[in-house]
Amino acid sequence: MIAIVPLVYLVSAVMFVVGIKLMSAPRTAVRGNLVGAAGMALAIGITLFDQGVSGYLFIAMGLIAGTVIGTSMANRVQMTSMPQLVGLLNGLGGGASVLVAFSDLVHHTDQPIDTLIAVGLSGMIGAVTFWGSLVAYAKLEEWKQFKKPYSLPNQQMINLGLVIVDFLLVGILAFSHSMTTQIVCYVAITILSSVLGVFLVNPIGGADMPVVISLMNSYSGVAGAATGFVLDNNALIISGSLVGASGIILTQIMCKAMNRSLGNVLFGVMAGSGSDSNVDEIYANVRSTSADDIAMILDGAQRVVFIPGYGMAVAQAQHAVKELSKLLESRGASVEYAIHPVAGRMPGHMNVLLAEADVSYDKLKEMDQINPTLDSVDVAIVIGANDVVNPSARNDPKSPIAGMPIIDVDKCKTVIVIKRSLSPGFAGIPNPLFALPNTLMYFADGQAAVLDIVKAIKDL
């Protein structure tokens, strides 16, 4: 029976691959996820079976506890805070790697070099992932103390230093033969890496958190793979590297959509870079409006386009928006949705929300697809979007988001912007769009605002 266990691990690894493949088409995605879950169940099951009854109760406790907590988290979370959740979960995965590597270390005497190296790396990457993810989480939750990116003088030198020391420690750990030295090194590595994790993520603006999170996703994978090397366990190695690769790719995609290099995102210290100055004059002649006026305007409109952004997610306005568009269509207008690749806080964030509200695929237009046709649009309704419609990305080369492709709503005949205030988006910069002659601001919570408009139209 000896080879059964690794063989089953292989099977579940294959199930992960097949699962992800199935996830590449909406039709089969659900099944794909289930296949993945089944693979995981299989892996866990065989491991338990393999462990023998010895520590069962002990282990069972852990599994149950985790399941309960995980379930409640998954059921509670709103679609808006999906990024936070993913971030948090990443962190936990990383943390687990740290602990596993440690207990392996204290459990075996006199391990081979490469295992010890793997132990060190698991600790290092795991800790970075754990703390990095937590900070990212805090930023996305907009906790005050993390709200504004904060970084020490020549932060990057410090980080580099930390990395180097970390690697040195890994080396010492690997080549020392005294358990004590090894443990000391390991603890040191973990601590330093934790600091590193915080230092790495803290200076990054909230708007870039999604990038950070998917990077952390990649790290958590790599950490898992490292743990796999520690335990000579292919299940971990395969799945870990799968996830590692996936995270990297998503990161690249996002960076491309913001046309910035990963390096720039990580070390750019972009957000809020001194454009706070002339806000007032930029917003000198902003014109605000009311639901009734908007109803009037929409009454005559032939072609209406919604540009949803993070705000729609915050306001949970997707259902209201869907209602409004149904209403408009019933009155003969054509309605589309212009989706910016990085609208919201995760790639595909808007798609998920609008899917939730039952908006059909074909109405969702990608940026490149709809931009050329925007000047024939009568009314563009920007709901909770800000950076992704900020013209200074086109016009102002010194702007921190300069060069990021945006949805050119300013080309539309009339632009209605629904947001609660003039406060900036996550890039933390003012948006000239709001002051354009063809722009009308409607200051209100996204959901309330849209519902008012619906009411106003019905009252016409």
């Binding site: 909406p26 995981m40 852990g62 985790g66 995965g93 070099i113 595909g348």
Partner: protein, 159 residues
């Protein structure tokens, strides 16, 4: 993808340059040396186990059972999986990126397997305790990840 492959090659070549010393150190270090030697002899004493493809006089094969081969095997798996990962992920359309992110995130919870093994280290109290905590963390990652992905995907399916 190309630059990546390139860097991969480089990385491999590097490790391939560095490893020997590592191993020499390993062999050089008192205790392991004996063992490796033992392993090698072991290899020779049991031709019938035929863990060696070439004649018994061949060096590298006789130590198939030795540590470093396990390592290379793992490396192979690692590299191949990375390729698989890149290829299959690159195909996923943007619409599904969020579910993909949470889904793959759940998969990275595979560490739970390691955690269970670690929790099995009854002898070392600390070890197994940490193992337990690790189980909880990883399990949250797994269950939470898959469930939330499922929730999201159901929305897509509705239409």
């Amino acid at each position: 993808m190309r630059p990546f492959s390139a860097s991969l090659l480089v990385a491999l070549l590097l490790s391939f340059v560095l490893l020997p010393n590592t191993l020499e150190r390993a062999v050089g270090a008192p205790s392991p040396k004996v063992k490796l030697g033992a392993a090698r002899n072991a290899g020779n004493d049991m031709p019938s186990e035929k863990t060696n493809a070439t004649s018994e006089t061949k060096q590298p094969e006789t130590v198939r059972s030795s540590r470093s081969l396990v390592l290379v095997a793992s490396l192979t798996v690692f590299v191949l999986s990375i390729f698989v990962g890149f290829e299959i992920i690159a195909k996923v359309p943007p619409t599904l990126h969020t579910p993909l992110m949470s889904g793959s995130n759940a998969i990275s919870g595979i560490t739970v397997v390691g955690a269970i093994i670690a929790a099995g280290y009854q002898d070392t109290g600390v070890g197994s305790l940490f193992g337990l905590v690790a189980i909880v963390l990883a399990m949250i990652n797994v269950v939470g990840g898959f469930l939330v992905t499922h929730r999201m995907l159901l929305m897509f399916k509705k239409r």
